[in-house]
């Protein structure tokens, strides 16, 4: 937050949160227990992911103690304010099995799909989109995906090997997409159906009627691609429908009053932190306003190109080439980058924690999966990997634990997340990464 005046960016939001907490008006929207919307529907549990590149520095990253109230090693020192809101899983493996270990790739792909990618192949459907199929269609956006890196290529979310889920990379356009002219404030006094939306929807239906005849003009593989496009059009149709329906009021929803301004787009850690904070706040408020129930944030890519001003190597190159500091015994700059990443993870969790919802906070009703691509940064190993889970998923999760996964697959955490999100599948992943047991240490 160093140079960033939050009020300049999200004045309405910050101000609004305070007002919401203070007013007894809340009671109007909630049931007697304050845990559900007045209409009787429970607070929906939403799912998010957060990703960063290049793991950590061994013992500086992995606590010695397990269970609750564990020690926070140097690289996790920033976690203190959120330690009790997060579960930390360490000492996990991303098993490549018969596939090659693809640097910077196999690790995060297994963490998010349970499947080691074959040579030359992209990821299969990632966990966020599996969950979005189940819970994403009730909202304006099936999912929201953003990257703080200012690079439109940096995403950890894939529909399939050839369809990355393109992230929003500019805080300004992210704001406009979420809270621009198409945003319907659920708490607005007035609601009028826009006749242009009715007309648009009608033309769109006409185009979708052509699906069958168009499919017949292409081969099987291309049919899948066109089908995916028509799925996108159906999402658009649902979006139009929602704009023609008066939304239910949501007390936690306080849309930001101003668009982000003067956003630096360079690769310095400082600018990255700022962009990440802006986009995290926009994203969290979009979740609070029930614009989406699935969200993804990329803090840094696996080949992270973040720079420390004055130091000549970007993060990824640094992990390869920086000498181990003779006195400290580790790569000082590589560790610097990891520490900054962890600070932004804390920022991310805190923006959800800062938005009140029901009798708690938004964080109580989300589950956020945090992943990276390697275990030990310097060797790019895919053993000793860490995964995070933040939030209590509507009370189903007890948080604040450090769990040693004893060399089991990182996919165990993904499987646990799927079960918590209500995706009923007997197992997840393939070969050595196939997981069929939830990690019971964190179940409430």
């Amino acid at each position: 937050m160093s140079k960033w005046d939050r009020r300049r960016v999200l004045k309405g939001m910050v101000k609004g949160v305070g007002v919401t907490v203070a007013l007894p008006l809340l009671d109007y929207f909630l049931n007697d227990n304050g845990t559900a919307l007045a209409q009787g529907a429970p607070m929906p549990v939403r799912f998010g992911t957060w990703g960063y590149g290049l793991g950590g520095t061994g013992k500086l990253f992995v606590p010695q103690q397990t269970g609750r109230d564990y020690d926070l090693p140097e690289e996790l020192a920033s976690w203190a304010p959120i330690q009790n809101d997060v579960n930390l899983f360490t000492n996990a493996n991303a098993f490549p099995d018969a596939s090659p270990n693809r640097n910077h790739y196999t690790g995060w792909v297994v963490s998010r799909t349970g499947i080691a990618p074959a040579a030359g192949s992209g990821p299969s459907e990632t966990i966020d989109l599996t969950i979005a199929k189940q819970i994403g269609n009730a909202t304006r956006f099936n999912n929201l995906t953003a990257t703080a890196t200012a690079d439109a290529r940096d995403t950890y979310s894939y529909y399939n090997a050839s369809t990355p889920n393109a992230p929003e990379w500019s805080p300004l356009s992210f704001y406009q997409r979420l809270f621009g002219s198409d945003f319907q404030d659920p708490n607005a006094d007035e609601f009028e159906k826009d006749p242009r939306v009715i007309a648009r929807r009608s033309v769109l239906s006409g185009i979708m009627d052509q699906e069958r005849s168009l499919m017949q003009t292409v081969g099987i593989e291309d049919r899948e691609r066109l089908d995916q496009y028509f799925t996108g059009l159906r999402q658009l149709e649902r979006q139009f429908d929602q704009r023609l329906t008066k939304p239910e009021p949501i007390a936690s929803c306080v849309p930001p009053g101003q668009a982000p301004a003067d956003v630096p787009m360079d690769q310095s850690t400082e600018s990255l932190k700022l962009r990440h904070q802006m986009m995290a706040e926009l994203m969290a408020m979009a979740v609070a306003c029930d614009q989406t129930r699935v969200f993804n944030m990329t803090y840094s890519a696996a080949f992270a190109s973040t720079i420390r001003p004055g130091y000549d190597k970007p993060h990824h190159t640094c992990t390869h080439e920086e000498p181990v500091h003779e006195e400290l015994g580790y790569q000082e700059n590589a560790s610097y980058f990891t520490r900054r990443a962890m600070e932004s993870w804390v920022d991310f969790v805190e923006v959800f924690k800062n938005i009140p919802e029901g009798d708690g906070t938004l964080l109580d009703n989300v589950l956020i999966l945090g992943t990276t691509d390697v275990g030990y940064a310097r060797t790019h190993s895919i053993d000793g990997m860490s995964v995070f889970l933040a939030g209590s998923a509507g009370g189903k999760v007890k948080t604040g634990h450090h769990v040693d996964l004893n060399g089991n697959s990182v996919a165990q955490v993904g499987y646990t997340a799927l079960q918590l999100m209500g995706v009923d599948t007997p197992s997840w992943g393939t070969l050595s990464n196939e997981s069929s047991e939830v990690i019971s240490d964190v179940l409430a």
């Binding site: 050839s162 009608s202 028509f230 360079d266 920086e322 310097r378």
Partner: protein, 559 residues
């Protein structure tokens, strides 16, 4: 094969009419010393249009005043080109929403009070309600250009009905504080729908039997027009090309030659070739290229954009305006200069872009010494001999440098870094370690000869106080410095062959398979015979059977 051997060998022994008929079948002429070999052709593809192609097509239809800038999801680079993966790339739901926003913006600009009188092409009898005649005229004209084919009567009637219904519903309603005119508001909604139609976003190629040889498939006329137009202009076919497809002229004798020659003479060829070289030279990286300002304060985002522009201007001028030998791009001292670049190059600055020739004693000549290559293949804070060597091999010689093997003990690399003054000593460890040396030997010796240019592309003769040794080698050629590297590259037989390979795969939409070897050999020979001129290469490829024939096996499935 026999057929064209006969053709080239027995020129004067057959009657002229018989000769012409035979040659028409095998695409050669009596004087053609190097006829095209028979090949199976490529596949009929369904390609995702790129954001630039989409914008360029809209600029042709509605004029350059319409703002249609958009970014689509990045696609993967496959065998050196982004264009190679457009036939497999999908579109996510979020992307569809982005396209819808753009479609709404473009439709609203077209129907704007200021623009409508020029862009609609007709006036309704009454702006307050439906006008079937004018709406039909607009939908059929614009729909044909957007869909790259004539719309059917049924399609036109459907869209005109939507426009009419919406005209009634929307007349007099308010948008952004202004009262809408029904006719234009109705047409706007329909145009928005057309702009996000799958047939606009996907270029769906289809095949038909060749009339004289029904077992062989070829692109149908509309698909051929699209393949030509996206190849040469990076945009949809224009009215004239679609007309040639509709009348049958495009596939009649001499028809494709007329169309291709017109396209090669059009200024739009520059847009097309800029897009090709943008892709081949990995200039998509320039959208995010930045340098550490504390190390290279003179390198700004303007420098990065100008560096890309300088190289594209140099290439277009050299290959298309001057019609020079492609290989000389790597030794030529002629370029263009902008004020932001002049600072880095250390030369006098004039306003705007001006032609510039490096002096004979300058350390710079050719594309490899331009800032785009030097800075684009460096780290934010320093040069990289490995990245430079790798880029040269991958971009200009079509060679694949393998990724580092997994599980490397990187600690062997950590020791020398801080203590040795120049890159030569620092990277020496690459060559001493067997698991690294295999690949680094083919990259680092190239990059070391460019070490007299720092990570921003500025000239230097020392690093950390030590004089830089810029000796290097490339495939048996040894030299001292960048000038020698450029000369060695220009003489490398793989240089023109790589361009041929890239142009052909760019033109047809996918990496060439083994069955394309005869065609590639033919293109290589023609390229050499015609003095390595780009325009001739484009013509040879565009007119070849390898460009327009479709492989039966795959195509049958799509029919």
């Amino acid at each position: 094969m026999q057929q064209y051997e006969q053709c080239s060998g027995g020129t004067f022994r057959v009657f002229a009419t018989g000769m012409l008929a035979l040659c028409a079948l095998v695409a050669c002429s009596p004087s053609d010393p190097n006829p095209e070999p028979e090949i199976a052709g490529t596949q009929a593809l369904t390609k995702l249009i790129t954001a630039e192609q989409y914008s360029n097509s809209l600029a042709y239809i509605f004029g350059p005043g319409i703002d249609a800038e958009v970014q689509f999801a990045p696609v993967a680079r496959e065998e050196g080109l982004l264009a190679n993966s457009l036939a497999t790339a999908g579109v996510s739901g979020g992307q569809v929403q982005t396209i819808q926003s753009l479609a709404a913006s473009v439709a609203s600009q077209v129907m704007d009070v200021e623009n409508r009188q020029y862009l609609i092409g007709c006036r309704p009898e009454n702006v307050a309600g439906p006008d079937q005649t004018c709406a039909t005229q607009f939908v059929s004209r614009v729909g044909r250009l957007l869909f790259r084919r004539a719309l059917t009567d049924e399609e036109i009637a459907t869209y005109v009905d939507y426009a009419s219904d919406a005209a009634v519903e929307l007349d007099g309603t308010e948008s952004a504080g202004e009262e809408l005119d029904g006719f234009y508001a109705g047409l706007e909604v329909v145009l928005e729908g057309l702009l996000l139609h799958p047939e606009v976003l996907f270029i769906i190629e289809s095949a038909e039997p060749e009339p004289d040889n029904p077992e062989q498939l070829r692109l149908d006329a509309y698909s051929l027009a699209s393949r030509l137009s996206f190849f040469l202009w990076n945009a949809s076919p224009d009215d004239e090309l679609l007309a040639a497809a509709e009348s049958g002229d495009l596939q009649s004798p001499g028809g494709i030659e007329r169309a291709v020659d017109r396209m090669l003479e059009s200024p739009r060829l520059i847009d097309g070739m800029r897009a090709f070289f943008d892709d081949m030279l990995v200039f998509d990286e320039f959208k995010t290229l930045a340098k550490d300002p504390t190390i290279y304060p003179e390198f700004t985002s303007v420098t990065a954009q100008d560096a890309r522009e300088q190289t594209l201007r140099t290439i277009i001028d050299h290959t298309l305006a001057q019609g020079k030998d492609y290989r000389e791009l790597f030794t030529s001292r002629s370029t263009f200069m902008s004020p932001a670049l002049a600072i880095l190059y250390g030369v006098p600055a004039l306003p705007g872009w001006t032609p510039y020739t490096f002096a004979e004693d300058s350390p710079r000549a050719g594309l490899l010494t331009q800032v785009s290559f030097l800075a684009g293949t460096s780290h934010p804070g320093r040069s990289s001999v490995t990245l430079r060597g790798m880029a040269l091999r991958e971009q200009f010689l079509c060679q694949k440098v393998p990724e580092p093997p997994p599980g490397i003990d990187f600690s062997v690399l950590t020791n020398p870094d801080a203590d040795y003054p120049t890159q030569r000593e620092r990277v020496a460890v690459h060559l001493e370690t067997p698991s690294c040396a295999g690949c680094h030997r083919i990259t680092d010796t190239i990059g070391l000869s460019l070490e007299q240019f720092d990570g921003a592309g500025a000239y230097r003769i020392t690093e950390n106080g030590a004089t830089i040794d810029a000796t290097g080698s490339l495939d048996g050629f040894e030299f001292d410095g960048a000038i020698g590297l450029g000369e060695a590259l220009s003489q490398n037989p793989e240089l023109p062959r790589c361009l041929v390979r890239r142009v052909y795969s760019y033109a047809t939409g996918g990496p060439p398979g083994n069955d394309a070897r005869p065609a590639l050999s033919y293109f290589n020979e023609e390229f050499a015979a015609q003095g390595y001129q780009l325009r001739n290469l484009l013509r040879t490829i565009a007119l070849s059977k390898a460009f327009s024939l479709i492989q039966s096996l795959i195509a049958e499935e799509t029919l």
